[in-house]
Symmetry: C2
Subunit: 496 residues, 2 copies
């Protein structure tokens, strides 16, 4: 989840200068409107050490009217605070109607710290997060707009920045050295915490902090868009509370990089090598799936990708390596009228296999955050809620022992065009191409953003995404088989 | 909470006959409207053994169109079910749009059972209930109306009914003998579970099951009102999702009994005895409060009651027994314009005392579910949400070690009139009576229902309500002092 944030998004000095005046004047305008609308705003700032959380806060103070904004840090509790319930210190600083309060850390800081110090275990994390969700719901139900920002740094960048040891007045938290050492643990726990507390009425914005100009502008724009949306909703008395979760991007192209831009599509494999290796893998897979069957480990393989990226062919290579009694391929198109009578997850729940089987999904529940999002087939609040619902669903499927892998088959627009034309010109491939495919192709930029956010928000420790370079079909197929075999063999080893 | 349900509500045979035709025809009409509106309904039936859960279900089948209603029991999971995630068996039976599904027990049954068998501890209950809240939110967000019913029986009634041992096809659950033995434990755990899962979009209806006619009619009417409200909201595209939580009452007067009808107002005490005893208690209290101070145990005493019931006088008798350095009396009227800029709980959070002090609240956060409810000063969804928020707030105040007691001072309308007139006719008591008091008096029936529901939903193991008969002022005052001394001394003993 967080590691997919290392995209290298940046904003040049020139672009920054161009963006700033409009951002600032619109922020001030929105701030004035808050007062008339009687909306309180609570901004929670969290993230990695060295990511510049305090710098962001100072920037916001610079941009906004200081009479309407206050920042609160929660260092070591005073003795006065220790004598009261834990949340008393936060209630003291709650913003009044029309005000913006920034909590540096707030109720998340202690939870993150306790987790890193092994004071929280995975199975009591929920209990620790219940009061957090309670207070956020309570405030959001009232008239508080809650926005939460997590700042992320790639490892080398963090090491660089933390060379200069900083000291804070709060000695409860880690030193720079410890921060670097505990980085991996922090990431793991942060992901769990963000996942559980990423609610429709209190969303997390995940922001890459390598480039300071990008970091600050992305924060400013995310805040601005959320304020503007909330104010408009208030005026129109609409109750759709949610701002877009993807950080609103400034115009600079370098700030719109997505995960897909990082995929190396030049990779390929020669035919002989491919045929040799794929056969080996298929034999391996046959053995592994029988072994998994005997251990009761179910395998879920989910395939998504661009039209003509080769899902069908890849799935065929997979199934050639599995006994027909053990697997099922389940293709999903638009829901039937019968399926539409139910929750969108219902038609997937129906296909949960018995223990030890392999279920291969040719398209899946991710339609909710891809086609349904881009084509406006559901409300924004619905697809935004879906990330949480899907993570939860997959956690139940994995159930601490099963295997769930998700593949995004990636090809370039150029290669896609070549394959579309090939399909159109080859009579026996003709059925594979429809007017819909051409229409989807035109919406590629919207889909790219949707794919990026999907991978960002649903890559979990228990159900990871794999982006597969499928420009060379054989290369992609082999990579999928490699991944499945490696993961299944690891899961079996863990169970034995 | 549940023990306050022993009200003896009943419906006579005649009244039942009178009510039934309208209830049935409106239910059928609502059921037809569901289909056009595309709303799914999930009814969860839970409660004590012997309360007749299955009888209620059969009654609903009789009243509704059988083509649109299905009941599901979740007995011992099949081997097919054991091989899938735990919630798979529930997803199999989810109602389609326009359908009503009744879950007998559903996801609550195993949790209740595990709790009684000590397989759940208080501090991991939240973790067990997280998936419950998750799935209920997920369904409610979609288009499912979720209604949950808990049926309660007084002890003697339960023992009577369970004399005839019944057997069920599910051998995982308790026999009748065990049910009676485990009654107290069940009540405790049920209260905790109901409290945590009583959500705006999935409310619990608590229904007294002693009188079968009342039980069935109250269920039928609660269901009916909830359906009708949801359908109207759907048509008007309003998003206020919540049906009233107080079981909708049929017209029969005997079905509208409230807790207050059970208070014996004839109790009194003679002056000498009173003066002797109150002095003794005050001295005791002085010692106890110093002791509590030294142990860091805070005391919260909350006073609510009818106008002229004697809150002021009672509080004075209390404070005479406490060192002025240790207590604070905090009176609450209508919120100031400054306070209105914040969440309604904020002005109470501000007054949380330091460790070991005594805070006496002359009126309190219960204004939300009393005056604000009756006078329409907040939306129904807001006061309905408040029960949960208040329970949660008080849990934080008690924090596992402090004392929180809530008193409702009760007098009859007749005695109230006498005191009002006395205030009006005595020049130096004149300031105590305002036109508001007379207006409130006229709304007594609405207030009685509000008080009943307040006590029902916010009597918790950690913060109980005490209804004090104050018809005789001295009697009431002494009872309050008795209660405070006994509770504080018990709390101190537990801490030492």
């Amino acid at each position: 989840m967080l590691n997919t944030l290392d995209l290298g998004r940046s904003v040049s000095k020139d672009d920054y200068k161009k963006e700033l005046p409009e951002l600032r004047s619109r922020l001030l305008e929105a701030q004035r409107a808050l007062l008339t609308a009687g909306i309180s705003v609570l901004v929670i700032i969290e993230g990695m050490d060295g990511s510049g959380r305090a710098q962001v806060v100072n920037k916001l103070h610079e941009w906004l009217d200081p009479r309407g904004i206050q920042t609160h840090t929660f260092w070591k509790p005073s003795d006065e605070e220790c004598e009261r319930p834990a949340y008393w210190r936060y209630w003291r600083e709650m913003p009044a109607a029309g005000q913006i309060a920034i909590f540096l850390g707030g109720w998340y800081r202690d939870i993150v710290t306790d987790a890193i110090q092994d004071k929280i275990k995975e199975d009591n994390l929920d209990a620790r997060l219940t009061p957090v969700n309670d207070i956020e719901h309570l405030l959001a139900h009232d008239r508080t707009l809650i926005l939460k920002f997590w700042y992320h740094l790639p490892q080398d960048e963090q090491e660089q920045r933390l060379k200069i040891e900083k000291s804070t007045p709060d000695d409860r938290y880690s030193s720079s050295k410890e921060a670097i050492k505990g980085r991996e643990k922090l990431t793991l726990w942060a992901e769990r915490i963000l996942r559980t507390t990423d609610m429709a009425d209190a969303p997390w914005f995940l922001i890459e902090a390598s480039d300071m100009r990008y970091r600050d502008l992305a924060t400013g724009y995310s805040l601005l868009k959320a304020l503007e949306k909330r104010i408009t909703n208030q005026i129109n008395q609409r109750s759709e509370p949610l701002p877009p979760q993807e950080p609103a991007l400034p115009q600079a192209q370098s700030a719109r990089v997505t995960l897909l831009d990082h995929v190396d599509l030049q990779t390929s494999i020669n035919k002989d090598e491919y045929e040799d290796k794929i056969l080996k893998r298929q034999n391996e897979l046959r053995e592994l799936t029988w072994k998994a069957y005997s251990l009761g480990i179910s395998t879920y393989l989910i395939f998504e990708g661009w039209d003509a990226a080769g899902k069908g062919g890849t799935i065929r290579r997979l199934t050639s390596g599995i006994d027909a009694r053990l697997y099922r391929v389940i293709p999903y198109g638009a829901p039937s009228s019968h399926e539409l009578q139910h929750h969108y997850l219902w038609r997937f729940w129906r296909q949960v296999p018995r223990a030890g089987r392999v279920a291969i999904f040719d398209r899946s529940w991710y339609g909710r955050v891809l086609v349904e999002r881009v084509e406006n087939l559901c409300l924004p609040a619905e697809w935004q809620r879906a990330y949480h619902e899907i993570n939860d669903f997959e956690k139940q499927l994995v159930n601490g022992k099963n295997l769930l892998l998700k593949f995004w088959l990636h090809i370039s627009p150029k290669e896609q065009l070549r394959r579309f034309e090939d399909r159109q010109n080859t009579p026996w491939k003709n059925y594979k191409i429809t007017p819909d495919d051409w229409r989807n192709r035109e919406k590629r930029p919207e889909y790219e953003l949707a794919v990026n956010e999907m991978i960002l928000r649903t890559s979990t420790e228990y159900a990871p995404w794999h982006i597969v370079a499928s420009e060379d079909k054989n290369y992609g197929r082999l990579e999928v088989l490699d991944t499945v075999c490696a993961a299944l063999s690891a899961r079996i080893k863990a169970a034995e």
